[in-house]
């Protein structure tokens, strides 16, 4: 092992910790957007992911994603069941990867806020991770069908050079595996579950925007681990300057896109609604980070600014669609993660400094990126539909409508989020 690799290890440990923090951050980001009577349930959906995904990942997840390839679709889940025979030096990868699986699953919860039985969610999590997340992770990062493998999609379309696809698909940190995947899953579940009572009639205002802003801040912070931690080193022949240069570029691009996307989002708001909102700024942060996720290693900082600006503006426009089409994607998982994920994944074909159309390298990469994006949409759609309908047909997804009105926090968790009563013996409670 090269000495420089120890530095990488220090960084990936920090990165894994940062990405783990993203899920509590997401819990607050989403939680602030719900009404006070359902904030705890929203937070609990993220904590459910934190509880369920790690055992799944340790038992068969790592192996399904990174085990011996089965038909380009997934790894052999039994090969390293329970992490047996995983070399000690691979644990840092296990650490990093488990956090991705957790946050991806947790992202979905925003689409189906306020109305899902907690038990149904706990059953959904391992099934969905197993059928949708792990196979896609394998296909993209584990040498499967969406990678540059000679048997992969890109190789089939544009041929093979030196044993790998001529045009290597680019998904640096998870535009397909994470964001398109979670976005599609959210959409499919919304269609299966239906809208909240009162959707598009009653106001459902965020109950605490400072909580949402805090969540956005933690997400941005954690995203540095997500993106810059996704650098892949050669342990034996560590490329010092590659490590320093690439992680630095990724960091700068991540910030550039997030910043520009705030501007993009609030600009749309200023024009359309006359006011730049804080919820818009928080949403812009996330939209920009989503879009840059697959692209962060392939763009220049200027390209990242452009991508962020466009992604912020497009997502700001996209979140209105649910009212037009009547699907209650409660906290805009589709509008932000699916749209942002698609924008980022496909824009690589235009903006990549090496391979991008705007840099004079033709349309091939653009085609490949579009194909992997669409493939991810289809895979995730089918996998989620299977799990979603199975749960609907068995234990059922929804709580009673009356319970929805009185508030899911009490019904599912027996708690109320807040009690600001002025005195101990006081009879008041708020937020239930």
């Amino acid at each position: 092992m090269d000495t420089g690799y120890a530095a990488y290890a220090a960084w990936i440990l920090a990165s894994a910790s940062l990405v783990l923090l993203m899920t509590p951050g997401l819990a607050l980001f989403y939680g602030g957007m719900t009404r006070a009577k359902s904030v705890l349930n929203m937070i609990m959906m993220s904590f459910g992911a934190l509880a369920v995904v790690p055992p799944v990942f340790i038992l068969w997840g790592w192996s399904t994603a990174y085990g011996e390839d089965v038909g380009g679709l997934f790894g052999n889940p039994f090969e390293m069941f329970g992490l047996q025979d995983v070399p000690a030096t691979d644990y840092v990868y296990v650490a990093f990867q488990v956090t991705f699986a957790i946050i991806t699953a947790a992202l979905i919860s925003g689409a189906i806020a306020d109305r899902v039985k907690f038990s149904a969610w706990l059953v959904f999590l391992p099934l969905w991770v197993t059928l949708s997340y792990l196979p896609l992770a394998h296909q993209v990062w584990g040498g499967g069908f969406l990678s540059d493998a000679a048997s992969g999609l890109s190789a089939k379309v544009f041929g093979v050079v030196d044993g790998a696809a001529e045009i290597a698909p680019i998904d640096y940190a998870g535009g397909t595996v994470v964001h398109i995947n979670a976005g599609v899953a959210g959409l499919v579940l919304v269609l299966i579950l239906g809208a909240r009572r009162g959707f598009n009639k009653e106001p459902m205002r965020p109950h605490s925007l400072p909580l949402t802003m805090l969540g956005a801040g933690l997400l941005w912070f954690g995203w540095f681990g997500f993106n810059a931690g996704s650098y892949v080193p050669d342990a034996e022949n560590f490329d010092l300057e590659g490590f320093v240069g690439e992680t630095g570029l990724v960091w700068v691009n991540t910030t550039a896109a997030a910043a520009a996307a705030i501007l993009g989002w609030i600009l749309v708001e200023k024009i359309r609604d006359k006011k730049a909102t804080s919820l818009g700024a928080a949403s812009g942060v996330v939209a920009g980070l989503v879009a840059i996720t697959p692209a962060c290693g392939a763009l220049s900082p200027l390209g990242s600014l452009a991508l962020g600006l466009v992604a912020g503006a497009l997502c700001a426009l996209a979140v209105g669609l649910k009212y037009r089409f009547g699907f209650d994607d409660s906290l805009d998982v589709v509008g932000v993660h699916l749209v942002g994920g698609l924008v980022g994944t496909i824009a690589i074909g235009l903006l990549a400094t090496s391979g991008g159309l705007f840099y004079g390298d033709g349309l091939k990469l653009f085609v490949v990126q579009t194909l992997i994006a669409l493939y991810a949409v289809v895979w995730s759609g089918i996998a989620t539909a299977i799990v979603g309908f199975a749960i609907k047909a068995t234990i059922g997804w929804r709580i009673d409508t009356e319970d929805e009105v009185s508030g899911i926090d009490f019904v599912e968790h027996g708690e109320s989020a807040y009690d600001f009563a002025t005195t101990g013996g006081s009879p008041f409670k708020t937020g239930a």
């Binding site: 009105v405 009490f410 109320s416 009879p427 409670k429 239930a432």
Partner: protein, 112 residues
């Protein structure tokens, strides 16, 4: 003049407001309240310890109306707020001796 005070279920507020507006009532004052009655509160459990939340959230409306309108206002509220389930609330009427509109100093009928 009379003061009509109504205690209703919070999710009925929107309907009551619309019904009153339709009935020509243009103003009212609203407070958040908690009710105690046949409708029971619920029990919450924190780290195994049970907490009895004995009160249930209510909305309390006050509407000052002309004597002539009392019956119709009470009726409007009652029918709009009704769900038929325990806890729908109460409406009561109290005599008012005078009313002033702060902005103009107008009094009584003109002030409502």
């Amino acid at each position: 003049m009379k003061l009509v005070t109504a205690v209703i279920k919070p999710h009925k507020w929107e309907e009551v407001r619309e019904a009153l507006a339709a009935a020509g009532v243009a103003g009212m004052t609203v407070t958040e309240a908690s009710g105690y009655g046949q409708q029971k509160g619920h029990t919450e459990v924190y780290r195994g310890a049970e907490y009895d939340v004995s009160l249930v959230p209510k909305i309390r409306l006050e509407v000052v109306v002309d004597d002539a309108d009392v019956e119709s206002v009470v009726g409007t509220i009652t029918s709009a707020a009704q769900t038929g389930k325990i806890g729908d609330g109460k409406v009561w009427v109290v005599p008012v001796e005078s009313v002033v509109r702060v902005r103009t100093g107008e009094t009584d009928e003109a002030a409502v």
